[in-house]
Symmetry: C2
Subunit: 134 residues, 2 copies
């Protein structure tokens, strides 16, 4: 089993992907080129990730019209993509939602236990590969 | 290794998820309750899937404002979610795009080889779990 530098397992752990190329319609990219998505990644990297969760920067989640965007995924779990996130205000709620996600076996967090930004800003979800047929 | 009824491997094969609860803003649900997403699933089921690809009906891809929606996924591949698909017109192009996806090792189809509906209608994409760090 592969282990990442922080000890999280790639086979069993969860991952929080953060698009670092995301822009925001309401915020111009600063002169230094540090995009809002990269700023959000930086803020999340300073926070407390749930145990076993990796934080991964990614170039483009194809949610460009809904930046900033993140995705939560893991083996055997539903994958969720969230957009229209605020890189300054939302990192604490993203981490709270990530913790709730990590605490499930299948990625399905009860609706009322999801942060408001997750309830409002789901762009898409994708079943685990082993989804039982309908 | 698990094998599905059609012989596709859950560990190595690809999956085309189709939301069967999707509605279309421009089409009311008919009296029999058969939603546009279910009609699109039926049309895709009659088509030729690429070798090793499973077709799976799923209730809600959380892309409700962008129905009809599908997702292409597979172990080690980028996952793509497409929306705003037409259940009558688009199944042939969806199957063409699915074939191009299945022919890749990582799910990344060159831009010009993607069907027009995939170029225009990507809602989100999610990296494979083993994405190399940036």
């Amino acid at each position: 089993m592969d282990e990442t530098a922080d000890g999280a397992s790639q086979e069993t752990g969860t991952t929080l992907f953060v698009c670092v190329t995301c822009r925001r319609a309401d915020a111009p990219v600063p002169a230094n080129g540090h995009r809002p998505g990269a700023a959000m990644h930086d803020a999340l990297a300073k926070g407390a990730l749930p145990e076993g969760m990796r934080l991964r920067a990614v170039e483009c989640l194809s949610a460009c019209s809904n930046g900033c965007a993140v995705a939560l995924t893991g083996p055997g779990r539903w994958t969720y993509v969230y957009g229209n996130l605020d890189p300054e205000a939302d990192p604490p709620a993203i981490l709270s939602g990530a913790a709730a996600y990590a605490a499930t076996a299948d990625g399905l967090v009860p609706w009322r236990e999801r942060p408001l930004i997750f309830r409002r800003n789901a762009i898409a979800r994708v079943p685990p590969l082993r989804l039982e047929p309908l």
